[in-house]
């Protein structure tokens, strides 16, 4: 497949897609100095040219529909087409966000059901569906923690604790909430270093942000102890729900001492990632934080569903979106929840864990080094290619690029940073054993190739539309949009 010219290269001045062009409207009477004179750089192509261009572009993407995509922490599993269908019905798709509640009982009913489901799933008191991704859920959580402490008159707490292995959104969120981030160490077994925690926790601690299983891909065994330590110091516990799929139906965050959390519905509830989004990151809280939830939520008054806004939640941290967040994603998640049902949800955790442990076992038998060999894998696991890097000069990055040539997306690389040359591998429950076996074969094959000819692997990929890209140049010689002169 050749590289594809940009749509602007295909463009010709004066060409229009006539079937889509309404007749021009009358602009007379508008002040001239407020009108546009310059012609924007938009494509001028026929409908077929557009269709062909984007069809071809799409063919240059790996995706779950086409490839094994074991990106750790990202949960790339099958996105049921039925959920997409359900959310695409005219009643949902054409609903104006400001339609009054009395004429929106269908949508509000869906939101109510989802709120109830997520309460059960998390073991928390109350849920707000508004946040539009995990990171926005974190922001909501941080703001609620802040609001809570301020309401308690406690203005001194200006630190959020996060493990060194934490996802980047955790510290970035702390900053957005006006907090400082304090990192706590991770012990050799992958669990939080309790002693370090004890050292840093104190009267300045607003809260701690944790995932469990952690980003080291192991279950944080001393979670209740951690909860006690933080709570005793007056801090609150935030659960980063990115890994909730690992424990679905097994244990609830609410039972592990967490006060507030978000869920990544686009991960655990299988809504499509769309090449970067959209997602949905509802937040769930215990009763302490309930008053601060972001609005709106859905309530029930007699038999009618209603919006719960400031008048019901005067202490709310406020709005996080112009309207109601990513409503369409929430419907998809509800559809998925309905299809899984009670029994299916438990299976998510069980088979995701089975697949990860199986793949870990097979890779380990094949001679790859697990980062935490004494630990169970959870829904994902870490390997380190440090030995291979030292012995063969072939780094995790090279393995990753070469995997693409085997038609498999690479696992997450170099995250968490504390494990050198690592792969964070999350196969998910929707992949078949045969696919996992193929992954092990591919890894072995690449190692063989590296032994024979390290350069070959270091120059991978070889069979993709492009060879390895120069990212340094991309950042240094910024070329962020097409211009007629260069193009």
């Amino acid at each position: 497949m050749p590289t594809i010219p940009t749509i602007f290269d295909t463009s010709k001045s004066g060409r229009i897609a006539g079937g889509q062009t309404p007749t021009e409207g009358d602009l007379s009477g508008l002040p001239n100095d407020l009108l546009r004179e310059s012609k924007p750089v938009l494509p001028e192509v026929s409908e077929l040219q557009a269709v062909r261009h984007f069809t071809r572009l799409s063919q240059q993407n790996f995706s779950i529909d086409g490839n094994f995509y074991p990106l750790g922490s990202c949960t790339m599993k099958y996105n049921p087409r039925g959920a997409h269908r359900a959310a695409s019905q005219p009643g949902f798709l054409n609903r104006h966000p400001l339609t009054p509640a009395f004429a929106s009982q269908g949508l509000l009913g869906c939101f109510w059901d989802l709120q109830e489901t997520l309460k059960t799933v998390t073991g928390m008191e109350a849920v707000s569906l508004v946040p539009m991704a995990g990171a926005q859920g974190e922001l909501a959580g941080g703001l609620m923690i802040r609001a809570y402490h301020e309401d308690c008159g406690d203005y001194e707490r200006d630190e959020i604790l996060v493990p060194t292995a934490a996802h980047g959104t955790n510290p970035a969120t702390a900053t957005m909430c006006g907090y400082k981030t304090r990192e706590i160490g991770v012990a050799a077994d992958g669990d939080v270093d309790i002693e370090d925690l004890k050292r840093v926790v104190g009267p300045k601690t607003a809260g701690i942000m944790l995932t469990n299983p952690s980003t080291c891909a192991v279950f944080e065994r001393r979670i209740l102890e951690i909860a006690d330590i933080v709570h005793d110091a007056g801090g609150l516990l935030y659960y980063d729900g990115a890994n909730l799929n690992a424990i679905l139906g097994k244990v609830c965050p609410g039972d592990m001492g967490f006060d507030v959390l978000h869920l990544n519905l686009h991960k655990t509830f299988a809504t499509p990632h769309g090449g970067g989004g959209p997602g949905a990151g509802p937040v769930a809280v215990n009763s302490l934080l309930q008053p601060y939830l972001p609005i709106p939520m859905v309530g029930k008054l007699d038999d009618q569903f209603i919006w719960l806004d400031e008048s019901y939640f005067p202490l709310t941290i406020g709005k996080l979106a112009a309207f109601m967040g990513n409503a369409g994603i929430l419907i998809r998640a509800l559809a998925y929840a309905l299809m899984l049902g009670r029994e299916g949800m438990v299976r998510v955790a069980e088979y995701a864990t089975l697949n990860a442990n199986y793949l870990a076992a097979e890779l380990s038998k094949a001679g790859f080094q697990l980062a935490y060999p004494t630990r169970r894998a959870t829904h994902e696991f870490l390997i380190t290619l440090n030995q291979e890097a030292k012995d063969l000069g072939v780094r995790a990055l090279d393995f990753a690029k070469r995997l693409l040539d085997f038609d498999m997306h690479a696992p997450t690389t170099y995250f968490p940073l504390l494990v050198p040359e690592c792969f964070l591998i999350e196969p998910t429950e929707t992949e078949a054993k045969a696919v996992l076996d193929e992954f092990v074969s591919a890894m072995c094959k690449i190692r063989e190739e590296a032994q024979e000819n390290a350069d070959f692997v270091k120059q991978a990929p070889h069979n993709q539309v492009v060879r390895r890209l120069d990212e340094v140049r991309a950042a240094r010689e910024l070329d962020l949009n097409w211009s007629r002169i260069e193009g």
């Binding site: 309404p22 993407n61 790996f62 799933v121 979106a321 894998a377 693409l404 997306h409 990929p461 492009v466």
Partner: protein, 450 residues
């Protein structure tokens, strides 16, 4: 087992390879004293057929006819090709393009999107989306404050009739960083900088057309901000940029940052989301930009390719010092918008915008002709308009929905008591003359009878 491919014999052999007797054993690191989850409150599973049946009943409840409501979400025609293409599995089910070589489709598309958005705003660079118009304004303010380090305070002037939902949302986002939003009340619907009590604003925000559909005097506002060394954020409806002067060309030096919601560009209203927020800016602010940015580069053979760039701004690299915590954005909607803009092109977009305007103008004229409504403000409007009605607006909109399935506009009393009898109305290119005439007739009849 929906979505799980394992047969029981496969499970057996996998357990054996791991060396455990059953799946439960894999969870043996969970301490015993954490209680087992209880999911009994959750229903049993439905098949896809049953689920669709259930949600179809729900969706049916919310079906309505003609929409004359805008206020930040617009009922535009979307060419069928847009979503046929955007929902191709390769776009729909890919992740953020971390492995550039396996994601050239998404990356090139984003590069094209950045080009279109920057050019629409007549600014230098655009990012690959933030969540929505509301949070986008918050991000724009944070970005501006970071960029305007020399400023002496953290006070942001919100000029006149900026979308109140956006302002509220932005406030949630910026408040805890000690940033204060100062709203200057509108004068006859528009922003009059002379009424501003903040001496040295750090940042000025103005919306064009504003929430009431009125055209602000953006050149003067831009110059006013520049004179005070304040950065200017333009909030816009991107569709209107096909016709209106782009922010980069406002006043002497142009706006610094442009933000807004991309819904009018091929995204269904869908209760307000998912849509996408967009940000563009002058080049000098690019390192303060939140979100993904794609750059063009070359591969090992020297051939053109695309990759995420300036990642040192982002949370996964910069962590606590990142320009934002945003990670997952609204990629799929950006995909749809890019396709929409490609199909519509210069002329399609321009005609759509001008047609919306003419339709609204016609609607306004017809309503005024009934004698039961008149324009609330006298500045020129574009695409949307506020009408003061002779009658109870609440009853009107209710009766329109219940008896005729029509959304009759946004009752501005919900956000401003002084506009209790006002409706914000809009007739997009989708509204036919017949629909508008019927609406006017019903409007007249309902107000007469009430």
């Amino acid at each position: 087992m929906p979505f799980i491919p394992h047969t029981s014999s496969e499970v057996e052999s996998m357990l054996q390879s791991i060396g455990v007797k059953d799946i439960d054993e894999l969870f043996d690191e969970i301490p015993d004293h954490v209680p087992i989850a209880n999911f009994r409150a959750i229903e049993h599973s439905l098949t896809e057929m049953e689920m669709v049946h259930r949600l179809a009943e729900r969706a049916k409840l919310d079906e309505l006819g003609s929409c004359f409501l805008g206020a930040g979400s617009y009922d535009h025609h979307i060419p069928a090709a847009v979503w046929d293409l955007a929902t191709r599995g390769e776009f729909l089910t890919a992740y953020t393009p971390y492995q550039a070589e396996a994601s050239q489709g998404t990356l090139q598309l984003l590069y094209e999107f950045q080009t279109m958005m920057a050019s629409l705003a007549s600014l230098d660079v655009a990012n690959a989306s933030v969540y929505d118009g509301g949070s986008g304004l918050g991000e724009a303010i944070l970005m501006a404050v970071r960029s305007n380090r020399s400023a002496r305070n953290r006070r942001i002037v919100i000029g006149g009739a900026v979308n109140p939902f956006y302002v509220k949302t932005a406030n949630t986002l910026v408040r805890s960083q000690g940033i204060e939003l100062v709203q200057v009340p509108h004068e006859n619907g528009v922003f009059d900088p002379n009424k501003c009590t903040v001496d040295e604003p750090n940042v000025v925000v103005v919306q064009q057309p504003n929430f009431f559909g009125l055209l602000e005097n953006v050149d003067a506002i831009s110059n006013w901000a520049a004179e005070r060394n304040a950065l200017l954020i333009a909030v816009v409806n991107p569709l209107t940029l096909a016709v209106l002067k782009p922010p980069g060309e406002w006043g002497e030096i142009g706006a610094d940052i442009c933000s807004g919601d991309g819904q009018p560009l091929g995204v269904p209203m869908a209760s307000g989301g998912p849509s996408f927020g967009f940000l563009s800016s002058k080049m000098k602010h690019v390192r303060q930009m939140p979100g993904r940015i794609v750059g063009r580069t070359v591969d090992a053979n020297g051939d053109v390719g695309y990759t995420l760039t300036l990642q040192a701004r982002e949370q996964h690299i910069r962590r606590a010092k990142a320009t934002s915590n945003i990670c997952t954005n609204q990629g799929l909607l950006v995909t749809a918008a890019t396709i929409y803009l490609s199909i519509m092109g210069v002329t399609g977009l321009r005609n759509t915008a001008s047609r919306c305007h003419e339709n609204t103008k016609y609607l306004v004229a017809q309503l005024e002709a009934t004698g039961r409504a008149q324009r609330a403000f006298h500045s020129p409007f574009f695409h949307e308009c506020v009408l003061r009605c002779a009658g109870n607006v609440g009853n009107l909109t209710k009766s329109m929905i219940n008896d005729h399935g029509i959304l009759a506009g946004y009752p501005l009393g919900e956000i401003d008591e002084s506009l209790e009898d006002c409706l914000l109305l809009c007739a997009t290119e989708k509204r036919t003359r017949d629909e508008i005439d019927r609406f006017v007739e019903l409007f007249n009849r309902i107000l007469k009878e009430s």
